[in-house]
Symmetry: C2
Subunit: 228 residues, 2 copies
DNA sequence: TTTTTGTATTCTGCATGCAAACTTGTCAGG
DNA sequence: CCTGACAAGTTTGCATGCAGAATACAAAAA
């Protein structure tokens, strides 16, 4: 007997602490709670997360490879600056990746994947209609990620996500103008159509153009912010 | 006077230990000294490197983001397997990156950068003539890296390097046939010509083809090895 | 007032300690 | 002979301790 036991928690704790910390720290940085240039004081963050320095330090070093923070030997880490030039470089790389993703997705993705993206697209339209920029961004991100995912290339997806963090950060403080926003939605409309039609060439071109206007938008917001 | 002093060692130790360890570990893995599937026993590696576990663990986690090792919770890390599929995915992504690099390099690179690559090319030819595969690979790598570097996009270079580690590993055990080797050299010849002529479209096409044959070569070697 | 220098404090980088989780080997039962 | 369980021994994950480096601050000199 004793077989009555509730089978409690056979899963001990699969997720290492430092992984948890990475996500929390990344969120703080992306959302701007930790502003560019801010020092990452180990003691403070340890207290904040309720952990010790070892996993925190591991997390910080990993975030450094994503380019979210900068490591200064013997002086700790700071949230990396959002340099327009670096952002442009990142978006150029992401453009190449999205282009590849579009091509692969047209060839390899299932109808279900297209429909999933279509569904996300409509949810995004709903948030656009309501003027909810935050929710819009969230679904926008999801769509791009799903598209890259549909390419069926795990390395591609991983690389894309890695680069994306920095862009999300810039995006977070970008306040789209009504025109830009409408334009972006229109572009998404076309992108979805091209994907559904499996028109790889057109999809690649649209994705490139979409990214170019995204770059302009982000740089504009960054410039306006620097001016203020 | 006094100005004669050798300006001795104002640099204390700029490079953190874990960074050193990463490089050494990466070399071990790339060169196959740590075979795929091998466990990374912390104690053993600590003794080997003469350091303690903290910096070693940091290094291992960073290598995990490069895909060189795999982290198994509570069971340590193992050298990741060289799956042909994953390699193909990696090379596809690198193809997109090289293509972008070629385009940018044609536009932005200086004549000096072209000449530097030309010089490396001739050194590579020398090693090819002598049949020194190891040295050939080394210069081959350098050329590709310099080309990406010539694009003048730091993010692109970083991303490329990150992915490259895994390919180098496969490459290390690939024993090119004479034909493949000659063909690769011929392809490099064309690539250099296109780059020198700033013919972006042609360069992109050549790079794509070069990578495709590299993929075939690596997969062939991997398959042959699996058969043995 | 400005610059410099000495000192105290804070913080990072690395080493080590401890508890929990996993692995291995042995043994009882079928 | 095979299956399952238990115990000993490793190994990892995280916390903490300690030395050295960097910073901040204050006092003294220019």
């Amino acid at each position: 007997m004793g077989s009555v036991e509730t089978l409690a928690a056979p899963q001990i704790r699969r997720r290492p602490l430092h992984a948890e910390v990475i996500d929390r720290l990344r969120d703080l940085i992306v959302q701007g709670a930790l502003a560019p240039g801010a020092r990452l004081n180990e003691r403070v963050l340890c207290a904040r997360f309720g952990i010790s320095r070892t996993p925190l330090r591991e997390a910080i070093k990993l975030l450094a490879t994503e380019g979210l923070v900068e490591l200064l030997p013997h002086r700790g880490a700071i949230v990396s600056a959002l340099q327009p030039e670096r952002l442009a470089e990142t978006l150029a790389v992401m453009g190449a990746l999205e282009s590849l993703a579009g091509e692969l997705a047209c060839r390899h993705s299932s109808e279900a994947q297209v429909n999933e993206i279509r569904a996300l697209h409509y949810e995004m339209l709903a948030h656009h209609a309501r003027g909810d920029l935050g929710a819009y961004f969230k679904y926008n991100q999801q769509i791009h990620l799903k598209l890259v995912e549909a390419a069926g290339n795990a390395v591609l997806l991983h690389t894309y996500r890695q680069l994306n963090a920095n862009v999300r950060r810039a995006r977070y403080m970008a306040n789209l103008s009504k025109e830009r926003w409408d334009q972006a939605v229109a572009e998404h409309e076309e992108i979805l159509a091209a994907f559904a039609a499996r028109d790889a060439e057109r999809l690649k071109r649209l994705l490139r153009e979409h990214l170019a206007s995204k770059l302009a938008s982000v740089l504009g917001a960054l410039g306006a912010r620097a001016a203020a």
